[in-house]
């Protein structure tokens, strides 16, 4: 008691002098501060992996020929329009004219060729393989680029909406890590490592001028520090709340608006399909019947996520509700385990040491214990240790991790991927979906989703929610997170 009084008396004395110059001074109305949890290591997404760089730069500093809109649809960006040939191998892009890079160079079809060719030669991250399907790029005219593929591929056009489709200028790639140059509405201004990146409106932008002329992207490793920054008027927007439990304090405060939507992040209970005992479909199915995913989501995401029954978020064109494939049915789980000859199963659940994964693991373990499955939980340091032991060495029975990439259902067509799922039917369906018409694609992808759900190739616990908290004055934020970008172009103010 004395301690508290003394401390507060001291504090009051120290802060009294600064009370007049409160932090919530009328800020520059043309500036906005947005808080993130992951800071880019550098600004070169051609040589450094990770989601933080495209989150900051894609659609804001860099633009592609096409982009993904808030509804998950592919729409024109630097290409005004495009046509696809009858054999679905040739794409003719008509480019927007009068577009300039941040360094003043005009954007032409030659830059399209330069950018796409450069993915194959200079990029070092694994995503570069998305361009392997390109046979060549022709410069038909200054505003007409033709891309010829080795075989038809729907995935290719979708991938062009991601960072691999970003357009670069040959005179702007000297220092990508420190000075990115693109055609976007914003240009990179400064960065303070460990603190922030500042973007400024590009005065010669071809499109609609952004509402905010200065954007501060501020980085907070600690989720509580990020929340406190918004609560104390240090920032205007929390880009994504990683601890869903904490959203209540923003919902009850009239200063803020809270948006809730979906993501591409399937929180997945991965099974090692290639190894005894989880190579037995009945065992995997038994585990699915044993787990009450609603309870998992309640604990790990404050009930705010979306239940999904396969590796498809609702924003993909081939989504259908498959959540009822495995209803919570412990009796059925026990029966299946007995049938498979595994009444006393012991499994290693090696999870990333991240809050959602550890809390999900505890619920999963206790529910599996109810049907006689003994689960030992081993949290692994993420990313280094988890990537090495689970992802690369396949040394696990089960794991829990968010799979954040868009349309990552295609990993079930790769038997070498860490879940070791090998099904020729899925492989051929995926290949057919890629080469077929959009209608054939949707039909084939639905079939893939149903097949892997029926096989219990993995357990889809829930889709992680996209939770955004912002000052009420900020408009134009998108609830669903569909692309790799934190898209600043639509932001406005009341």
């Amino acid at each position: 008691m004395f301690g508290a009084t003394l401390v507060f008396a001291l504090l009051a004395a120290v802060t009294a002098c600064s009370a007049g110059s409160s932090v919530s001074v009328p800020a520059d109305p043309d500036a906005i501060s947005i808080g993130f949890t992951a800071e880019p290591a550098n600004l070169d997404f051609t040589r450094t992996d990770g989601a933080a760089i495209p989150q900051a730069l894609l659609y804001n500093v860099y633009e592609g020929l096409v982009k993904l809109d808030a509804g998950g649809k592919i729409v024109p960006l630097l290409a005004r329009e495009w046509t696809v040939s009858g054999d679905r191998r040739t794409y003719d892009f008509q480019l927007r004219e009068g577009v300039k890079f941040g360094n003043g160079q005009p954007f032409t079809a030659a830059d399209v060729k330069f950018s796409i060719d450069r993915v194959k030669t200079e990029w070092t991250i694994s995503l570069k393989s998305k361009m392997d399907v390109v046979e060549r790029v022709d410069v038909v005219g200054p505003a007409h680029a033709r891309v010829v593929l080795k075989r038809p591929s729907n995935n290719w056009l979708f991938d062009m909406t991601t960072r691999v489709g970003a357009m670069f200028s040959p005179s702007g790639v000297a220092d990508l890590a420190g000075n990115p140059v693109g055609t976007g509405p914003y240009a990179f201004a400064t960065r303070k490592r460990g603190d922030s990146i500042v973007l400024r409106a590009n005065p010669s932008y071809w499109g609609r001028k952004p509402t905010y002329t200065t954007v501060y992207l501020k980085y907070y490793k600690d989720p509580t520090a990020l929340n406190n920054a918004l609560l104390s008027n240090g920032i205007d927007v929390i880009s994504a709340i990683t601890t869903p439990d904490s959203i209540g304090q923003f919902e009850t405060d009239t200063r803020f608006t809270v948006l809730q939507g979906t993501t591409n992040s399937e929180v997945t209970l991965s099974f090692n399909n290639a190894k005894v005992p989880l190579n037995d479909k009945r065992v995997r199915q038994a585990l699915m019947y044993a787990i009450d995913r609603k309870a998992v989501m309640a604990t790990a995401a404050a009930g705010r996520g979306t239940l999904i029954g396969s590796m498809v978020p609702p924003t993909d064109p081939w989504y259908e509700d498959l959540t009822r494939v495995y209803p919570h049915d412990p009796g059925r789980a026990k029966a299946l385990l007995a049938e498979a000859g595994q009444p006393n199963l012991r499994l290693r659940l090696r999870v990333a040491n991240l809050p959602y994964a550890v809390s999900s693991a505890q619920v999963v373990a206790s529910q599996l214990a109810d049907v006689g499955v003994n689960v030992s939980i081993e949290p692994l340091d993420f990313p280094a240790v988890w990537l090495k032991q689970v992802f690369t060495d396949h040394d696990f029975d089960m794991s829990i991790i968010q799979h954040v990439e868009a349309r990552d259902i295609v990993t079930f067509g790769n038997p070498k991927y860490y879940w070791g799922y090998d099904n020729p039917k899925v492989k051929s369906l995926l290949a057919g979906a890629d080469t077929g018409t959009p209608e054939q694609q949707v039909a084939a992808m639905r079939e893939v989703a149903r097949t892997i759900a029926d096989d219990a190739a993995a357990g889809w616990l829930f889709l992680f929610p996209n939770l955004i908290a912002a000052k009420t004055k900020v408009t134009g934020l998108s609830g669903n997170l569909v692309s790799e970008s934190f898209d600043l172009t639509g932001l406005g103010r009341r």
């Binding site: 001291l10 600064s18 303070k192």
Partner: protein, 314 residues
Amino acid sequence: MILAIARRAAIFVVSGAVASVAVFLFMAVLPGDPAQVALGINATPELIARTRAEFGTDRPLATQYFDWIGGVLTGDFGRSYVTRDLIGPQLADRLGVTLWLVGTAMVIALVIAVPLGSFAAVRHRKLSGTVISGVSQLGVAVPAFLAGILLVQVFAVQWRLLPSGGWTPPDQDFGGFLRGLTLPALALGLVQGAVLTRYVRSAVLDTLREDYLRTARAKGLRPGQALVRHGLRNAAVPVVTVLGLQLTTLLIGAVVVERVFVLPGLGSMLLDSVAARDLLTVQGIVLVLVIAALLVNFLVDLLYTVIDPRLRRS
């Protein structure tokens, strides 16, 4: 006197050299190839070889060490594997933030501890002395990060008087700099102040029992006067020792406080670099921290001789 200083300087230089070898070897034996880690899981062997050559990690260890330490001596700490930035300027920038934080915290701690500790010693049989003792005991038990979280809750989130975190360089906006520094420096300084208060109290208590103080009082000085005129200088020797030791703890406390308050200091740089397995950067930071600790020890030794002339002869 000069010999004593020279001997201590020599010890400082030799320990620094030994520490640099230890830090280098420790990083070298850590599992994991920095080139592989930097490139990610799907990197091809050719690319890894190219990157290793680029980093220079394909050369013999001794060559790497002398190359590194030779660079460090001229202020060149090399280039980060992850951010591809020069490490030296980053380090200097981050060290600046940490020094402001630790320095201010130290001043706060001293401003609290010296008067309160002395007062508690002089009044050690009275209620007021006992209360100060008790309160400082309480303060010792509070970790700096908890103090930080409490301060943020009250002054940033509830009252919105001060920012909850972030850093403004003093040359950019001095008012903003002070507002940003206040809470983290308090979080560290209050806790340190509590720790130090206890040491000051016991050092002063010991001094009060000395003969020369009894003599001073016999000449008619009141206890407080006697202490200020004759005792504080003597009580300072053990306090300076503790101060030196505490400065190292303060640096460690700064690592945590920097995370709570989102300060781009050395501590947060260390945490980020460890997480990203950016070994060359970690190596540079650890060396700087070790040298800082050695330097503090060296300075404490020097301070002794200034405070207590008797020690000059040893």
